[in-house]
Each structure stands twice: as C-alpha cells, then as structure tokens.
Symmetry: D2
Subunit: 344 residues, 4 copies
C-alpha cells in the first residue's frame, strides 16, 4: 500500500483499513467525552485482557506524551532516569522529559541501543547523597532505536537488577508490537511478565492514526494517571476515536499481523542487501529496521528516489525502516536500486 | 444526528461527515511524517488565506495543548497571564499552564466570563518590581466559558489597553467558530483585525475528531513554535490526519455551517425555556450555550434522560450545550421535558 | 539602634549583636561543609527541643526558599495550594512556587489576611475531577501580611477542616516569632500543637542575617527535604554560619525578646496615631505592623523623612513596620511628624 | 588557621577575617532591604571596576543558585547546555538546572575536566530539527572540577567556536579566583576578555561566608536578572551582608591572596607526594586541588586522621583540596602521614 520508496519512518505509513473502519464505526451520534464512552471501555477491556486484570491503561495522543506521562508517574522531583544515549526520550523529544517531568536523564552509551545490567549497576552512584539526583527509573526502548530487540532474559536481568536496588522499569514500547512479533511471545510475556513496571504502548507506528497508551502494572500507580495525562495535555476530549484505533488493532490481532509484515520486510531487505558489495549491515536486524553503511555517493543517489535517513552523519550509517504497509515489491525495487547504484 | 438528550458538551458530538471524508481521503499510501505532507500544506494554506499571509499556523492535538504552546511562545519565565477566574486555562487544564509554561495566572472575577479593559488596567500593578510576576499576556476566551461573545469593539478596547502597556493578547478560541458566526464576521475580523496576537483555534468542538491549531500573527513568534509544540508533546507524527480535519471543516465553510447550527439550536432552546415558569436564563445567549437556573429537583429529574452539567453547585446553575449535530427535534424534546418537569 | 525613620520593612533592621557574636564564634578553623558540623547539630537540637523530637529541621537561605521547599515536600504535580490573595507566596515571590514547585496557587480574598475554615471548605471543589487541580495544602501566613495573628483556635479550626478533607497545613512563619510573642504561647503551642504540618520558620526578620528553616512535623516527610533543599538551590556549603544565627536567636530567648520589642513598638505607634484626626488604623494591630489610611499628601510629605510603603495604591493604605531594633524614640519621632503633618 | 587534616573541600574553610570584619562593619543601623543599600552599591562598583562598565552583577547566595540563574538568563525552553560529564551543574546540583531552568544538559566526556573546541563542534547536531533540543550555551568550569585550569587561548578557542555558531559561553567560576591566580591574569583577562558571556563568580570557597554573583557582560541580559534571581529564591533581603563579603574580598586584593595561598599549598602537596612510591598524580595540578591514586588501604587508613574524598570509587582516585586557610604545616603533616602509610 505504501508508495515505492518509503523507508524513512514507520510514521510515514497510512492508517490500516481495519483501524479506519473502527474509527468510522465509532462515529455514531453523541457519546460522553473524556473516556466515559463504550469504545474506551472496550479498548480498556482489551488492555486488561492482554496485560492482566491488575493492569491499568490510559490512552494518550502520542509517544512523547506517553513517555512523559509514564515517567511522571514514577518519579519524585529529585529522581533520575537511566536510559541509553540513543533513547528517544533522550534525543528525540526536544527536552520534554526534562521540561515537563522536570527530571534528569542519565544517558549511557550503548552501541546497539540496548542497556545491560552491568551498566545499570554501574550507574547507581551517589545513592543517598543530597548533591546527586537519585536513580529511580530504568527506561528501555523495545524494539530499540537501532531496531534491536531485548530478549526476555535480557529484560528479566535488567528488571531484576533494577528492582533489587529499588528502581522501577519503564519500557518505551513505541514498537512493542514489532518486538513481541520478533520474540514470538504475547505482549504480556515480554513486558509485565519480565518485570516491566510501566509501558508506553505504541500504536501509531503499528497502523493507528495517532494513539498510544500508558499501561501501569501496579494498581497503586493508577490513581495519578488521569491527572498526569490531563496536565500533560494528553487528554482527548473525543476519546472514542483514540479508543477505536486500539479496537481496530485488536481485531483479529491486526497489531500482530502488521508487526510481522513490517519485520518480515526488514528481514527481506537485510538479507538481500547483505550480499551486495559495499553494503555493511551494522545492527542486528531483529524487528522492522535495517541499519547499514553505504558509500555516501550511493546514499545521495538513492535518496533521489527513496526516502530514508542518514542516522549517523559521521559514519554515514543509514536507517531503512519498514512498516506494516511495506510490500515485497517495495523492498525488491529498493534492493534493485541499491544493487544498481553500488555496481556503478 | 445526536441522540436525544445530549446537552452536556460539544465534545460529545461525533465527527462531521465531511471531516470524516477528508480524513479517509488522506489515507492513501505513504506520506512524510511530522507535517511535510501535502495535506498539512493545504491546511496551512487555508489558515494563511483565512488569517493573512503574515500569520503562521501550528497544528496540535487539543485545546490544552494549544493554549499551553501559545502561552509558552509569549512568556518569559517571570511573566504572568491575566485571565478570568472561569477561564479554561485557569480551572479546566489541571494546572498545565503553571506546570508546563511555568507561569502564574492572575485570575480576575468576571461574572459573565468577559474581561473588561478596566480590569486589565487595574491588574497592572508592581510593574518593574522584582518581587512580582510581570503581567505580559491577556488571555480571553471566545466564545467565553459562559457562552457569551466579546464584540469586536470589546476586543479592540482590551487589546488597545494591553498593547499600550506592552502586553500581548491571547485568545482561547476553542469556540472561535461559534463566536465568528455569532458576530457575523470572518474569522480574521474578530481576531487579528481587532488586535489578537495569538489564537488557539478550536476545531474539535466544531466537528473535528481531535485537532486544534495555534495561529500567531507576528512572524517573529513563528520560529519558536515547532520546538514548543514538540516539547509540549503536541507534535503528531502522522500529521496529515490532523490537517485533513481542517481541510474538511474548510470545505464549503463547513466550520461556519456547523457553528451556526449549534448557535441556532442554543437560541431555539433559550427562547423556548425562557418562557417557562421556574426557569431563569442567567447569561446572555450569544453562541451555543445556555446557562439557566432550574429548581434542583427538576435538574435531578431531567438528568435521568438528558445529559447536562450543573455548572455552579452553590446556585444550581446549569449549562445546556448545543453542538453542530443538535437538531431542532432534540431541542424540542428537551424543552418539552423541562416544561413537563416544571409544571408538576 | 535603627536610624530614625525606618518603618519600611523588618528586613531593614541590622543583625542582632547576639547573632553576630554567634556567627563570629563559629568562625574557628575548618569544619565539615553542608551541615555535618557541630553548629548545625546544635541548631537542629534547639529545633528538636522547641518543636518536639518528631520534628525535623532543614536550614535554608531565605523565605522564598523555605516556602518553596516546604510546598514541594507536600505536593504531587497536580495538587494545589489554597492561600490568601495577599499571601507572600502569591504576590511576593515572583512566581517561584509556580515555577519551581510547578503547582497552582488558588488564592482566596481575605480582607484582613486571614483564611477562614469556611473559605477552605468552599474551595474544595472538583475533587477527583481530572480536569481540576486537586487542593492538597492550605498555606497560612503567621503573622499575616496584614500584621494580624491567627489565634490558636482559628488555626485549630482550619487545620481540623483541612485534615478532615485530607489536606495538609503549611505555615509561612516569616514572622512566627512575632506571632508567638503576640499569642503568649511557645513556638510549639502555636504550630504543631494546633495542627500545622510544615512550618517555614523565619529568622531573618527577627534579627538574623539571612537564615530560615523548614520544620516538618511528620517524620515521613523528612527524607525528601535534603534533596529538595539542594535542588531548590538552598543548600549552604558553609552551613555553620546559618546554624550560628539560630544559635544566637536561641540564646537567652533572644528571638522572643526581639519579637516582643517589635510588637511593642507597633502597639506604641498604633496607640499614638489612632488618636490623630485623619488617621484610620485599618487592620487589627496584632504583631509588629500597623496598617493605616493617611491623606495622600501627608504620606508623600512624610516619606521625605521616613521610609514606609504605600501598601494599596488604590486606597492609599500604608504599612508601618516595626522591627527588633525599633526604639521608643523612633516611634515617638514618627508620631510627632505624623501629627504635625496632619495638623497643617 | 585550618585544623590539621582538612583536605576535603574548600567549603570547609572558615570565613577570612577581612571578610568577617567587612560583615561586622555593615552591621550598623537600619538600611534598605533587597540591595538598595550602600554596601551593595560598593560591591557592584567593585565588579564594574573589575569587569568593565558594560558588565552587570547580581549577588546571590550560592553556586547552584548562581549557575541556575545564569543559565536561565541565556536559555529559551528548548535550548540546551553543553558541558562536561563532570560539571558541577551536571552531577552536583541534584538536577536543579533541569528542574528550575527546565533545560537539558548535554554532557560530554572530558578526562581532565576540560572541554575542547572539537567537542563543542561535534555536539552541534540536529540544528533546526524540531525533535532535538538546540544547543545554545557552552558551560565551562574554571578552575575545573579536576583542578585543571583552561588557558586563555583554550577559552578563546572555545568561545570563538561557540560564538561562530550562535552559542553563548557560561563560566562556572566557583573557583575563578584560583584560576586567575594560576594564570597570572586579572579576573577580566580570563573571562570577558576571552569571550565569556556570563560568569558565575565564586566567593564562598575563596574566603566568604556564603555569597556568589552572576556577572553578565551583555547589557541586554541585565534586565532579566533581578526577576530570575528572585524567582530562583536567590534574592537576599538583607543584601548588605552579601555585599560586605565581596567588599572584604576586594580589600587589598584579599581574593587574590587567598587564591594564591590555596594554589601554593596544592602545589606544595603535589610536589611532595609525587615522589612517594605508590602515589600517582592523575591530573595536572593547576589550581588548589590535587587528584591522585593511592592504594585503597592507604586511603582508608589516612581518612581516619584526615578529611578528603575518594572521587572515583572505581579507580580509587582521591581528591585533596587546599583552601585559603591551609598552612604549610598542614600540608607537611599530611605528606608525612602519606609517606608513613605508604612505607608500611
């Protein structure tokens, strides 16, 4: 469904037809605002079925909103977040966490986008020292900004370390569907079951129009969420249209179908270009992104016909992103172009 | 189109079919994220045509987001906003302006929801005194939270006073369409032409799904808007679906048709119940809201079949809100019920 | 000791000699920074003796710092403070509470500077409503900004109402010494014993150089204070010199002697000018301030020789402030001048 | 004057007698509050004489306050600060810059505590990208947290790069006196003359009681300072006592005498222990700090009699700090103890 050439962002994809249908189906007459409507109830029910009865879900507009609301629910003013240097919260939210949550992010260098338990432990310095912010949250992105996916064991190891030291674990799940599809687990098995305390659940990149959710797994956190959502300007008045997007993605596991398609296309792309002389795949292709080194001249030539980003201006590493609407023909056309360009 | 009985909120209305069509029409293949798409361009063009080439428009998710982004664009950290005690920013945004803009709201009592030039002038105290926040913005809601509408002369008088003292004027136009329809002016004539410096342009209550805009009329302010929008978690990745909503409302002046319908229904309601013994209309019915005193027992009985809010718990004043989807039959049915209840 | 003519502010007074001696006595060799010194220990001990073993005291630089740190210890991000419209936190801290605590102040009009239980109760609206900030703290100033003093019964009534509704009570005690002296109670009897939960303890106006303290009466609050103090830029590295100021004021109850002197001088002044034709005392003279209406011409003439503020530009009400260093001769000279001016 | 054994912090030093005398001399009768007093005028005059007539100085309580006020004067909400990973603002202010200025700190690894022009240039990424905070300030600490001192050329090179890209340069001069003494320049020659835009001027570590200043060199910045100081809770009511501290330090260049003494003692210490087997000096000893590796057992044994900090728990690196009151005998006694300990 995507036009040939779109490998820039999973946000470039359109809305999945099933989601669009669900939105249209919600457009029937008056309905109470701010979430007191049957669609929101159904969406919340799906989240409860998916993540367990103890979980509590708050619908928001976008990923930055989800992350900021989630972090605000976990932090006292002098507490800090440990995250990777590449984390979306650290580099792609224009300082929203610092500004709105008022918190410090302690960013740790992680070549492949994944934190390790040892890094978390090493960052636990100055505990109890009034001059220092106190680490309170470990924030993981799943799938990571580099398209890699934490295994369940890796997640469990980090959450164990975190919990042992009194920290909580936040997961930025902007691409949680891609991660679950990659791991072959349920959404629950790769989140709350491995110790995640709060999840930013991403739907937009997965085929929604503009909807994300904050899922908390500790009932004690739930009470603050409505106020934090409203104060963070994330409360939709006509909530049913956010809810409908989740209803659409839940229908016949559309979320999973979409995630599998995006992942499969990334693998198809990686496998094909891995063979090409002059191309180096730089990150493990676990989900729907391929990171690769191309000659700069090739990159520039290809960007005339294909959308994709240079991710690292220094090395020339590019990011090639597949989405739910990417078709094999899109990939094959891109591969052919890359091959042609590199054989010049 | 609304179910009988919905007078609680214009947010209870569904999305107008023309808007829904525009959204569906935007759902075609891949398109650049974050506003670099043709629909956003068309929406921005409509705003430029509407408000003048000097204006600059930034699309956001919701009203709180629009107001907070707008105020942030105008304020230094120690500067304050003058507003009414009833202002949405003051009572219905859960402290978002204080928290995110970090600013102080100086709220002034205004029985009918309208500030006066004299109030603004009287609030200009402590100028230059380092102990005091410095008034910098006058924020007006149009139509007001009490359904009243500032006349163009009233707006001009306030903006003149404000500008004379170096202040800027923000308009919370969550119901700007209803106000323009009520005044019989273009959108421009009742905003920038009477001295408004920045406008929160409301679309959601006017038939959109969830979309608002910040319109600034001073090009010098425009550069900060993208960063403020992103940092306030108001940047939509799939922007085309926000833009499409404005395209829909612009089509054949749907915004105006919708506003007129809502206003007309409020007048129909007010005219009918004004006659009923025991009902007192408490505010000038200028736009799409009717405020009235009913006996409490009647209110409680009516709330079993009709949605509407008690606005003032102390006096029992109720708010009866019409929207674009309210039909004469809805009003007549409500009027009949009120009449029946009060004749018991 | 004050120069003739100083009735502008108790901050105009010098440092009391006993305090200066205590500071000098602390200036002996090296000593650990940040409060791990014997002087800080002694000061903390005096606070524990004064307010009870359950109390915990944190020394800070100034009143704004004390108030902001205190409020931050009590509030979640969406919670609000009820205070008077005249409260120092509301009008004289340049928006520091909104900016640093990120909280909303809900200001209530109180002609004499005192909140009433009925006002507190009436302000408890929108509880549980996600659109509204949630009242969490009642902040009282004692003595008030109008020189009035809450009785113990008044304080108890307000704290009872507050606690019954789950709110906490903060006291801005910038002039707590003057209040205790006026009430004839111990510091404890007019604070924790009547339900105050956290106290901004003022020393600067009472004869110190620049030192205040935050006293919390619930041990559960104590853990956050060191971090909040540091993050609010209120942690003194050479803490011993702050501590010494409290040691000085504690010595031979210098704090009480100073407060009584300031109060006595205000009474002397009030009694004398009350008789003068053309002077109207406007507030109950309970502590060390006299508020009065004078003819504007007289005010202007007197301000050539005497420092004092016009408090209300509209009515011409003036504030005449006595301090620990004000002498009977100072008062008598001022009275004579007022009398002379009004007899022209 | 310091007790034997104090090498933990220059904040452990007492107040220099000349400063104490200046404070006592200011304690004469009433005087206007908040800086409208002759002592503040004299202090401001000294700053103008020192840094040039274009400069403007604002007195504050402490270093965190100075840094936060300074950064607030330079930053828009979405702008960021480039600093070293070791910077005081980054690790020792408990998140005050993030919380109060609301800004993001971009911390860069700098083994010796000094930024380089190349690092600054490499950090200028994402310029104009709405998703990214925009670098606006380079913050340098002088002398650095590692006791090193930027040369004038180094400072000029960084400020040139910064200015060329539209950034401003902040200097955290908590130990600016030590740096100037080390460089053999005037205060002006190593600040404004090499392109510093705003200086946090440190006095406390140099012999004051608790006083710092924000010096801005661009008159356009001066207007915001009073409001930012007040809102950051850094406005002293009895300002004369802060001013007096600067008057004391200015008297007979006491600031320089003190700085030279501290620096000389650090050099004496470094020269002596450099010879000892088992001791490795790890940083260039440019000012009043010595960083060294000692065997852990020796460190623990020495800490029984001497105060000093382990700076890096991983490597065991210790910080040995001299101050204005450190005497040769103090150093020699410490050296003897180290030698004795390492010869066991």
């Amino acid at each position: 469904m995507s036009l040939p050439g779109e490998f820039a962002s999973d946000n470039a994809a359109p809305v999945h037809p099933v989601v669009m249908d669900a939105i249209a189906a919600a457009n029937t007459g008056a309905s109470p605002a701010y979430g007191a409507d049957p669609w929101t109830h159904r969406a919340e029910q799906w989240f409860a079925d998916t993540f367990g009865a103890e979980s509590s879900t708050t619908l928001v507009w976008n990923g930055t909103g989800a992350n900021v609301v989630a972090l605000r629910a976990l932090l006292k003013p002098w507490e800090a977040v440990l995250c990777t240097a590449q984390a979306h919260i650290n580099v792609d939210e224009c300082g929203a966490p610092e500004r709105i949550a008022g918190c410090k992010l302690v960013d740790l260098p992680t070549p492949g986008g994944k934190l390790t338990p040892a890094q978390v432990e090493a960052a636990l310095v100055g505990i109890g020292d009034q001059h220092r912010v106190q680490p309170r949250v470990v924030s993981l992105t799943q799938a990571t900004e580099y398209g890699t996916v934490y295994t369940r064991d890796e997640l469990r190891d980090i959450s164990d370390i975190a919990h042992r030291h009194g920290l909580l674990v936040h997961m930025d799940g902007a691409r949680i569907a891609n991660a679950a599809a990659a791991l072959g687990t349920s959404l629950r098995e790769c989140t709350v079951d491995v110790g995640i305390d709060v999840l930013s659940f991403g739907a937009t990149k997965n085929g929604a129009m503009g909807a994300e959710a904050v899922v908390v797994f500790d009932p004690a956190l739930a009470a603050s969420l409505p106020f934090l959502r409203k104060q963070t300007a994330q409360l939709a008045s006509k909530m049913r249209y956010l809810a409908a997007q989740f209803i659409g993605l839940a229908h016949d596991d559309t979320w999973l179908v979409n995630a599998r398609q995006a992942n499969a296309m990334a693998h198809r792309l990686a496998e094909a270009i891995r063979e090409i002389d002059g191309v180096t795949i730089t990150q493990s292709v676990d989900a729907n992104a391929v990171f690769a080194l191309l000659p700069r001249a090739a990159t520039e030539a290809l960007q005339r016909d294909f959308h994709f980003y240079v991710w690292d201006e220094v090395t020339g590493e590019v990011r090639l992103m597949c989405n739910w609407a990417t078709e094999p023909a899109d990939v094959d056309q891109f591969v052919a172009a890359i091959r042609a360009e590199l054989s010049r």
